[in-house]
């Protein structure tokens, strides 16, 4: 059985860590977010208990986001270095993830050189990696095709996709290509129709994991931090017992629970942004250099199939 310092009784939302276990895991816990799902809802059950209860092997995955390859401003003069650190942390995880998702803004300005550099860097990740574009990845402002050539060859439309792994249905959504009012994201008619059809054959007990770049809930629409037509998508998802929606874009941890849907926003590997509504507006937040690694990181998730509550732990590169 994989060593799991978070082994915990079922139905507990607080991981129990003894000091030795806590210290032994800080090397990677300190670098990101640990969140575990069961039936698409997070679990901190021991691996064996979850598997015995459901007959499904748990799967784990990592979310990285907003790597901004090509960025170079005071908020992080060297985001390539912090991406390399992040990749080293992911490679050092006690269990190799089954897959990795990148929730967009792979590059800063979507140039061919930045796409090439990002591909070289991200090739060091230890598992198959699935990408969706952020608005920074659109060539000429709104064209996702060069990004898709580099990172999304087997996707549909503007880059949306889905796949199944051990009973979990993962859906990549693209909400950055056509903007709504105040710069919020949109999914658009074609993608919504595709989503409806994609979900049609699934059992309501199937755990659903959504990934997108802009938040899929109205986190702070005044800064464009939302998706104006997401309500229709969640209408199609209403019959499912477990839906988890992960996004990037805002470079900080934000969580939101709406009905049965758990929303979670990941940190960037490059630089933080201000909290919603704080300061003059969204954009790179320059911290004292020694504080940067406390504000960037990644997330790792374990999907289990036994009913148990959601537990999410967030940490950083520091």
């Amino acid at each position: 059985m994989t060593h799991n310092p978070y082994s915990n009784p079922p139905h507990s939302t607080t991981p129990i860590l003894d000091r030795r276990a806590a210290l032994s895991c800080m090397g990677w816990l300190g670098a990101g977010t640990l969140f575990t799902f069961s039936g698409g809802i997070a679990s901190v059950m021991g691996t064996g208990a979850a598997e015995a209860a459901t007959g499904h092997a748990p799967i784990s995955f990592v979310q990285i986001s907003d790597t901004h390859v090509g960025f170079s401003k005071p908020a992080n003069p060297d985001p390539v270095a912090t991406l390399r650190e992040t990749i080293a942390h992911v490679r050092a995880l006690p269990r190799t993830p089954d897959f990795i998702v990148h929730t967009g803004d792979v590059t800063h300005l979507a140039t061919p050189e930045q796409f090439d550099h990002a591909r070289q860097l991200l090739a060091e990740l230890p598992a198959p990696t699935f990408f969706i574009p952020g608005e920074h990845d659109l060539a000429g402002g709104s064209d996702p095709r060069p990004f898709l050539t580099a990172f999304g060859k087997e996707t549909r439309g503007d880059g949306w996709f889905s796949f199944d792994l051990h009973g979990v249905h993962v859906i990549g959504l693209v909400n950055v290509v056509r903007l709504g009012d105040h710069g919020q994201g949109t999914l658009g008619r074609d993608q919504l129709d595709w989503l409806k059809a994609d979900l049609a054959g699934l059992s309501a007990s199937t755990p659903i994991v959504l990934i997108a770049h802009f938040p899929l809930w109205g986190l702070y629409p005044e800064w464009g931090w939302g998706t104006s037509d997401a309500a229709e998508a969640f209408g199609y998802l209403a019959r499912f017992g477990s839906v988890t929606a992960l996004n990037g874009h805002i470079h900080q941890i934000q969580r939101h629970l709406e009905g049965k849907v758990q929303f979670h926003t990941a940190r960037s590997t490059a630089y933080p942004q201000p909290a919603p509504g704080q300061g003059p507006g969204p954009g790179p937040l320059a911290l004292p250099a020694e504080q940067l690694r406390s504000a960037i990181g990644y997330s790792s998730a374990e999907v289990r199939h036994a009913p148990s509550p959601l537990a999410i732990t967030d940490a950083t590169l520091a």
Binding site: D181, H182, G183, W223, P282
Partner: protein, 123 residues
Amino acid sequence: MRLRLAALAGATTVLVAATEIPSPSSGDAANGARLYQACMGCHSIEENDIGPSHRGVVGRSAGTVPGYAYSPAIKGSGLVWTPANLDKWLTDPQVLVPGTKMYFSVSDPRERADIIAFLASQK
């Protein structure tokens, strides 16, 4: 009765507001500064990023900020960023300059006027 009057007064206000077309040069710069926060995913006053910097944009010729990689469409547009042109631009940039990188729009004429007033104050 008081409630009915209040409802009527509200309806009248909406009707008047709907028939007023704000001039692009008559906006509220303070409210524009607040609305401009939605533009800051791509722009700032001082620095080029996804979009060019905005210091001095009102009155400037389009496609002329040093160091910004403009689309051929905007470089060849011949536009000057007058308040009237900025109003058309914010209404739908892809209609004003097909092929431009800009794809953010503001549907409310009052909000466009306020944003333009804010930009005009950033000389």
